[in-house]
Amino acid sequence: MGEAAWEMLLAGTNVLSGELPEIWKEPGNLTFLLQLAGEHANPDIKYKIWDVCDELLEPTWDYELGEFTLGLGLNEPHPRGQLNARIMAGWVCKRGAWSSIFRQPNFDKFSEPTVVGVDFPSVALRQAYWDGENLHLAVQPQNNAIHGKRTSFRITNLDHGRDWAIEGLDGTLSTMNFEGEDLVVEIEANDHPVVLKPNK
């Protein structure tokens, strides 16, 4: 039913023609469209919709703080909260991801290796998942001044009876040692994907 409603909405907006009708340019309606596109549209359709709408959103960067918001042409001192929140929920949502939280919740994460103690917001992890054997990470710096600086964090729920190595395609250097149950990792914040693997 949700999919049928989405298809009807999509057809009604005519957005795939590359031109958005005036009524859909109103920020509330635009928000409705983009939030639903995240959950319901396939990736090609989703990005076509965003291509049409992006200019209306007034994408805004603060490169020093590493922050992204949407001005929406409102000329207000603060990004409009509800609209930003729902549009960005649509942006980060892959097709079916919202309903999956309720239908197929990921509870394994609580017992799998987990990174803690990240020096946020100076650095953040744009990739952090356990594939069953290896931990995949990518450390993103807040801004250019931090890019390449070393940072450290801890990894919990890791088998400390094994030897671990970090492998980066670019030869990223990293050091690590167990402190108690946790593995302490020191690594460059350079956005490069790395993999924490057990030594065979």
Binding site: G28, G38, P59, D62, L65, G66, E67, F68, T69, P77, H78, P79, R80, G81, Q82, L83, N84, A85, R86, M88, A89, W91, V92, C93, K94, A97, W98, S100, I101, P105, N106, D108, K109, F110, E112, T114, V115, V116, G117, V118, F120, P121, A124, L125, R126, Q127, A128, Y129, W130, D131, G132, E133, N134, L135, H136, L137, A138, Q140, Q142, P193
Partner: protein
């Protein structure tokens, strides 16, 4: 088994996470004698959604979605959600319910744009959706925004918000007793499970469903 899962959050997502973290961790006071920071939205969706709490709830969606893409790193997401839940326990989260008593004294002066929200023939004699009408028949004044017969939209979204905090963090913090509103005699003790049980009971005991604003029921 190696799971095939390639999740990399893009620059916009990371930038939104940083902004929201700063927004959520900027101190302010949602008790009655305080005032939410002006970056919390009380403008959008007037007259039904133009309350600070909807910014709290809406802000939780992207956080939960992002944490599912980096399931091995959730501490920042958990912190943001905890800040959102914490604010939702304050007086300002229920400022509509706690100030809009009886019929709207201004309902004879509604702007024309409200006409799409008012049943034909009742213009001037009908409370617009968004006016919570605490105290109106048949319920009487009920100061606890959760124990009230109405106010479905308050307690429903709140359970969702707490649920997302628990889902992301694994922390049972909000499933222990906590105090809400905290305004003299109007202080109420709830937990996540108690709210959910209470709401489920309301649904089970009402064929028509729960009132959202008093006397306004979503069809089931």
């Amino acid at each position: 088994m190696v799971k095939n899962q390639i999740n990399i959050l893009d620059d916009r997502s990371m930038g939104w996470l940083r902004y929201l973290y700063r927004k959520a961790t900027t101190p302010d006071n949602w008790d009655r004698d305080g005032q939410p920071h002006p970056h919390w939205d009380e403008l959008t969706g007037e007259p039904m959604l133009s309350w600070h709490r909807f910014d709290l709830v809406d802000s939780s969606y992207a956080v939960a979605l992002m944490s599912d893409q980096t399931p091995a790193w959730r501490e920042v997401h958990s912190r943001i959600l905890d800040e959102l839940v914490s604010r939702h326990t304050g007086w300002w989260s229920a400022s509509d319910w706690l100030t809009q008593f009886g019929d709207d004294p201004d309902r004879g002066n509604y702007p024309d744009r409200y006409k799409r929200l008012i049943p034909e023939g009742l213009w001037g004699e009908y409370n617009v959706p968004g006016w919570t009408a605490n105290g109106i028949e048949p319920h009487g004044v009920q100061m606890d925004p959760i124990a009230a017969d109405g106010n479905l939209f308050y307690k429903g979204f709140f359970t969702l918000l707490i649920g997302l905090h628990r889902y992301v963090s694994g922390d049972e913090k909000w499933n222990k007793s906590f105090h809400m509103i905290r305004d003299g005699d109007n202080s109420f003790t709830w937990s996540h499970s108690k709210i959910a049980q209470f709401l489920a009971g309301q649904w089970n005991n009402s064929q028509m469903g729960c009132h959202c604003e008093n006397t306004k029921v979503w069809p089931t």
